[in-house]
Structures are given as C-alpha cells and as structure tokens.
Symmetry: C2
Subunit: 212 residues, 2 copies
Amino acid sequence: MKLALCDDHQLFRKGLRQLIEDFTTPSEILWEAENGRDALYYIRKGMVPEILLLDAQMPIMDGEQTANILKSEFPEIKVLVLSMLDEEARILYLLRQGVRGFISKDIRPQELEEGLLIVEKGGYYFSDAATAHMLETIQSNKNVNEKEMLSDKETQFLVLSCSELTYKEIAEQMQLSFKTIDHYRIALFGKFKVKSRVGLVIYALKHGLVHL
Amino acid sequence: MKLALCDDHQLFRKGLRQLIEDFTTPSEILWEAENGRDALYYIRKGMVPEILLLDAQMPIMDGEQTANILKSEFPEIKVLVLSMLDEEARILYLLRQGVRGFISKDIRPQELEEGLLIVEKGGYYFSDAATAHMLETIQSNKNVNEKEMLSDKETQFLVLSCSELTYKEIAEQMQLSFKTIDHYRIALFGKFKVKSRVGLVIYALKHGLVHL
DNA sequence: TAAAAAAAGGGGATATTTCCTCATAAAACA
DNA sequence: TGTTTTATGAGGAAATATCCCCTTTTTTTA
C-alpha cells in the first residue's frame, strides 16, 4: 500500500509512521509533507500515493484547499482526512471534494489499518460513530444539509464577524449595506441556533468554520 | 533518564516515544498516561519519573491541575509542558506551579533531547523564542505581569462572557449588579487591548484563557 | 416568458453594549 | 487611628446589535 502523509506536526507524522510500520499489511510511505503546497509538489513530481493521509488544519495550504485541488488534478488519489475536530460544515465540504473518509487523531492502531484497507479497496471509512451518522443524514436527506451549507457571502460574513469589526464595518468591507449583511446574520443565527454575535463566534470556532 | 509521558493523543505519545528512543542519551519511559488523573495514579503508586512530559490540554484532568497537585505532592518531579498554543496567561500559571519549561509540539528531535538534558540538570528550557522572551519579561518586571493577571471575579466574568449570556445575565449569575461587572469588562478590555465583547472572546480563546 | 425564489436594501423600534462621571461601603495599610 | 485603595453600585448617554415589517432588483426555475 503506497501512502503519503501530510500533517504540520512532526510528532504526529512520526507517530503515524510508527503505527504504519507495525501494520501486518506491508505499507510504504512515499513522502511526508508539512502542508498542502509541499504535498502537491511531491504529487506533481510524480510521487503519487494510493492513499493520502491529509490533516485538515495546516498552515500555508490547508486540507480543504488541498482536497479541492486534488479532486480536479488527481481524482485517483484516495484522501483520508486526519481530523481532531468535529467540523460539521468542513466535513461536508471535504466530502464534496471526494475524500474517502475521516479518522480522528485519537484513533487506535487497528482502526487505522482497517480504515486504510477499506479505503484501498475503494470504500469509505469514518473512524467515529458521530461522523458515520452524519454521513447517513447527509445521504438520506440532502436538502436539510444543503440548507446548513453556507453561501460564499455568509462564509465571508462569518469570518469577519469573528473579529472586532462592527457590523457597519463588516458591511463596508463586503461592499454591501448594513441592512443586507443583517440578512446573513439572521440566516446564520438560524442555522446555528445562536442568539447573539458572541454565540455565533463561539459556534464558528467550536466547529472549525473559522480559525483563530 | 527516567521519563513519563502524559498526553491525550496516542499518536503524539507514539511520536515522542520514537523520538526518545532515537536519543543518544539512554532514556527510559516509565509509563504513558492519557490524562493527569492517570498520571497521578502511576506516580502515587511509586512510579516516579525524573521528568514528566505533560500536555497542557487534556480531558478529565488538564496540565494546570496536574502541575498544581504535583507541585505540592511531588515537587522533585521536573515537569516539561507540551504546548501547541501560545497561552500567555496559562504559561504564567504553570510557571507558578514550578514547571521547568515548555516545548512546542512542533519541536525538532534534537531540541527535545537538548531540552530534556537541560531540565535533568536542574535547568529550565523554553523551546521557542517568544516563550523565552516572555520569561525574561516576567522575571524582570514582576509588577507589570501581576497586573496582567486576572482576579477570580475577572476570570469568572471572562468565562461567562464567552457564552451567549448577556451582561445582565452574567451579573445575575455572579450575584452582582450590572454596574459592577461592567468594571470587570473595562478592566479586561484594557488588559487585553480589545474594543468589544467579541474581541474579548477571541482573545480569551486564542490565548487559552477559556476553553471551548 | 411568467412565476417563484433569492439577494439587496430600507424604516423604525427595542435591547444590549460601551463609555463617561460620580458615590458609597469594605478592605488594606501605614 | 486615619488614609488610601478596592469593590461595589448608580445615572445617563451614545453606539451597536437585534428584531420586526416592508420594497426593489436580480436570479432561478417551471
């Protein structure tokens, strides 16, 4: 099994490598990268793994961007996302980018091997019950979750809301009137079931929609 | 060198173990624990390491609580904190608990060995320039940093501010009038140089003063 | 093409936040 | 003891956030 690791924490890569070396399945790690940019560099040079273990949160180029580019350029690479958070909206986005599953960084060794084998065979693997359940929900009822998705403007508004800017200033940045961005506010309050801007900020950070 | 690892992520422990086994200095890992409670269990059973590599953020019992208990019960154990964040106020707290230094989880292998050797000899090690600089500041000008510290009420107010409660509701929870907690707000705005409650929340989360 | 939906914008009301100044009681201190 | 500092609280005002109801323009879709 030809693998590649993309994670910004060296210790995690080290731990993963150790785990993988202990597999009964013979496996090879082609390369390790600290971010998506470096990973793409290796891949474009022809070092194409069967499965890429991709961290969601990285500096320079994060998992989402990387998965997005891989989807169009190298759709044959099976991407397994390493995620510490329960990033609902992000998971949805990554699924659209065709990733083959998620594993929590707290995964047990056997689970990792099992997951990799499943993905190698063309399957999907979700290390944690909550994520698996979410997938079912998504697949069974697309519309509900489509509504949970954020438009570009809503996302932009959300990011700017997680700063000290007032709504008036956010409106200026977005080149829209205060009255218009207020619709985004109401929409997000409804989607996230929060009652105030502070609640919105907390929700966004807790679910990994916005990084600190 | 007798070591022990306390970190909730198995992969990190695995990576650390690997790193430590590669040391030129012969080292032994007495045990690994997933949280402070388990670590204390081992220690109280007599498995006392020279140096404890302690993660700051863990479930059940975090690094701060653990360091606090170790300070009084086992002051001879040298604690080296594993930290991914630049948690200014928390670093201050941990220093008060007598920890011997901090290493970022992005540390390079040689640095870890170097740090452990220094700590073994009774020294202090700070893996990152910013942290080292902060220590100087703390030591050179205690008063400035004492003022940066938060009182119990300020801390309580800060935690409650990182929720959807209004100030009026926070005042009720704290059994104080709105006008009184407003003083805490002003104090925190000044200390953290923020301009709004959202700014306060962001600051608190970014610096690890409040957990999500 | 016509109807429906979504995006953009507005008026205006109320609640909350933010920022002043000031007063009083408790605690610390010299 | 008297003085100073700190914690507590108040009045009031301006800015911001939140929530109604409404119209116009653009985009989607039937």
